[in-house]
Structures are given as C-alpha cells and as structure tokens.
C-alpha cells in the first residue's frame, strides 16, 4: 500500500528538492566524506521541516539554507573538538587573532612552477584540499568554487567581511603551500625511486 504523505511533506519536498544536490555538493566540500555529508544534509532537512511556514516566505531559499547548514556544521565541529589545545592555523597564529584586519584578498606567494601543468594540478588539488582546515574549505568553496561574493560568503558564515577576506587570504596561501609540499614530496619520491633503481 503506498504511503500517504501529508500536504506539508509534499510542500516541503517541492520547496527543497531542487536545492538538495547543491547543498550536498557544498557539504561534501566542507566535510570531505559522503557519510558526513549525508548526515549534515539530513540534519539540515530535519531542522528545516518544522520551519515550513517560514520557508514559504523566503525568497532566496538556497543561501538561507546554506547558512543554516553551516551553523550545523560548525556546531558539529565544536562538539567533535575535544582537545583543549587551540588550533594553529596556516599563518601560525593561534585562533582568529587578526581576523578582523581588512585585508585585500590577494596572495603574494608565487604559484609553484609546475602548477601550470593542469593535469598534475588537478591530481594534487584533491590531496591538498583534504589538508585544509574546515573553515578554509568553507570560504574557498563558497567564494572561489560556487562564486558567492565576499559579502554573501560573510553573511552565510556569519562573520564580518574583513574576517572573510583574511580567512580567504589564509586559505589560498595554505592551499598553495600544500600544493608546493605535494609537488616537492612527489619530486623527492621520484628521486628515491630513481636512486633505488640504480
């Protein structure tokens, strides 16, 4: 016997279904795992359904939902961070000191020489991405991948514009470092293989 859905469930489906693939994509880039991504999206939907009357009135549902999902993601990270030791970011500065500096989003570091090789870059970027802090993945994915403006990204993440700029700057710098490190380790590995074959 087919299940009978409530009119609220049908309306919820109609409002959210088209957004779920994008929400899933964002969540995957933040978490890096299909299981965590599915959990995150499921938790988002579970929290949104009771807010159906409010959802009906939201003009741009996707950024709103992304914002809620980001909050859930951050809460989950906080719960999972059992260590009292503060995270040291890519800049080597603990915590968010200096986050409010109104930095321009630009990077001084030169690109690694062989990053011009797009195939090689594509291969290494996945590993480098996995080495980023979650907060760096979030700003890079929202701004550089999905094309949200800095202002929109700041609204989603719920921090001042200056913080998003500095976070993005650090994220890009760190990503470059990881790509360079990946390039160097690959080069070292090649040398070692070469040495052992002699």
């Amino acid at each position: 016997m087919p299940k009978v859905r409530s009119s609220e469930a049908a309306e919820f489906d109609r409002l959210l279904r088209d957004h779920i693939p994008a929400l899933y994509r964002y969540a995957y880039r933040w978490t890096g795992s299909v299981e965590r991504t599915e959990d995150l999206v499921q938790e988002l939907l579970t929290r949104l359904f009771p807010q159906l009357p409010q959802l009906r009135r939201i003009e741009r549902l996707r950024p709103w939902a992304v914002r809620v999902m980001y909050r859930i993601f951050v809460d989950e990270l906080r719960r999972n961070r059992r260590s009292p030791i503060q995270y040291v970011g890519a800049s080597g500065v603990a915590g968010s000191a200096g986050d409010d500096e109104d930095l321009e989003v630009a990077d001084e570091a030169e690109a690694p020489p062989d990053l011009a090789d797009r195939a090689m870059l594509q291969e290494r970027i996945v590993a480098a991405w996995a080495g980023l802090l979650e907060e760096h993945r979030v700003v890079l994915s929202m701004h550089d991948i999905e094309g949200y403006s800095l202002e929109e990204t700041a609204e989603i993440v719920g921090v001042p514009l200056g913080t998003v700029k500095s976070r993005l700057h650090r994220a890009r710098t760190r990503l470059r470092q990881l790509l360079v490190e990946g390039t160097n380790s690959a080069a070292r590995a090649c040398r070692l293989v070469g040495d052992s074959e002699r």
Binding site: R17, Q42, V126
Partner: protein
C-alpha cells in the same frame, strides 16, 4: 607588478573541477522522507503522544524565573497539550523565557539542546543559534531560564529539545518580533524571513 589574482586562476579552475561523489542511491528521497516524519510542523498529535507517556513533559512559559515554578502549576492545560507557546517581543527587547521540564524521576545525562531561529538570539550567544549540554534532571520541575534578545523584526522560534534513553521531547516557543515605530504603532517585518 604581477597580477596576483590571476595567478590563482589555474588553482581556482582546478578547485571547480574537483569531483564530488554521488550520494548513496535514494538519499534525496530518504532524507526528505525522514525529515518529514521526524518533526511535523504542526506538532499537535505528536505532543499528545509525548504527554501520554508521562516520563517527561515540558511546559513552555514566559515570565520571571522566580515565578516559573508557580506558572507550571497554573499553565492552561491546552497550552501544554499544544506544545507551543506564542510570545511577542519588541525589537531589541531582552526577555527571559522560562522552559520547565517536568521529570517523573531523576534522569542522568539528559542531553538538552536549545535552538533559536529567526531574528532572535540567545543573549550572550550571538553567533550560536544552537546551544547544547548534558545535565541531570531532578525529579519534578526543572527550570531553564533562557534570556533571548530580539535582534531583527519578524518571526522566530525557540525550540528546546531534551534527549534521554533514546527518547526525544521538544517544546516550541514561537516568537514574534515587532518593530515599534516612533508613534508607538507596530509594523510588520519585511526582513525577518532572510535572517533566520
């Protein structure tokens, strides 16, 4: 001077081309169905089922902490059955919402989660729409005094959830934040829906 923005372009292109694996088959259907079954937007029937089990029940009341215990006793029965309360707040107003958890016995390691949406935030937790902790509930009334701040006009909601032994109970307080104009008249919000 080199164009540093352009130097990031190949990396940005590579980021955009990063593969995203597909979810498990049927995930979208299941996720929507699970969400729809987990927490109905009109909780009347669910709340009745909760109260009938009588292990824990909640009353959501508004008022001063000192009066909360007394308020539980005089809370209209239909308000408890409905499981929701309505509270009107003026923009920028701070108010203490007292949520009363009545436990029939002591419950250790109960997980309590407070979630606020809309233009309302928990005072002192501006960037945290959700606060979660573990506590022991004593037998009888347990009062949570939750200071909320009306940040933006529009509709908001405070949801209190307690989890224990695999069971979950919820209490919902609908919050209506209204702007008060200089003439003292209230106006409806046009911004609230984007700021939940």
């Amino acid at each position: 001077m080199s164009n540093v923005t352009d130097s990031f372009d190949p990396i940005r292109d590579a980021l955009r081309a990063m593969p995203v694996p597909e979810p498990h088959p049927g995930f979208v259907d299941r996720a929507i169905e699970n969400a729809s079954e987990a927490a109905p937007p009109v909780p009347r029937r669910r709340w009745r089922a909760v109260t009938s089990r009588r292990e824990v029940w909640w009353g959501a009341v508004v008022g001063a902490l000192a009066a909360a215990l007394a308020i539980v006793a005089v809370l209209p029965r239909e308000a408890v059955d409905r499981g929701t309360s309505d509270v009107a707040l003026a923009l920028n107003e701070s108010r203490e919402i007292s949520v009363v958890i009545e436990a029939e016995r002591e419950l250790t390691d109960a997980r309590i989660r407070i979630h606020v949406t809309g233009g309302v935030e928990l005072a002192g937790f501006a960037d945290q729409p959700q606060v979660e902790w573990t506590a022991t509930l004593v037998q009888g009334a347990n009062v949570l005094a939750l200071p909320v701040y009306a940040r933006l006009p529009g509709e908001g909601r405070l949801v209190a959830v307690v989890e224990h032994g695999g069971r979950t109970k919820r209490a919902v307080v609908d919050l209506h934040v209204v702007e008060v104009s200089t003439t003292g008249r209230t106006t409806e919000s046009q911004r609230g829906s984007r700021n939940a």
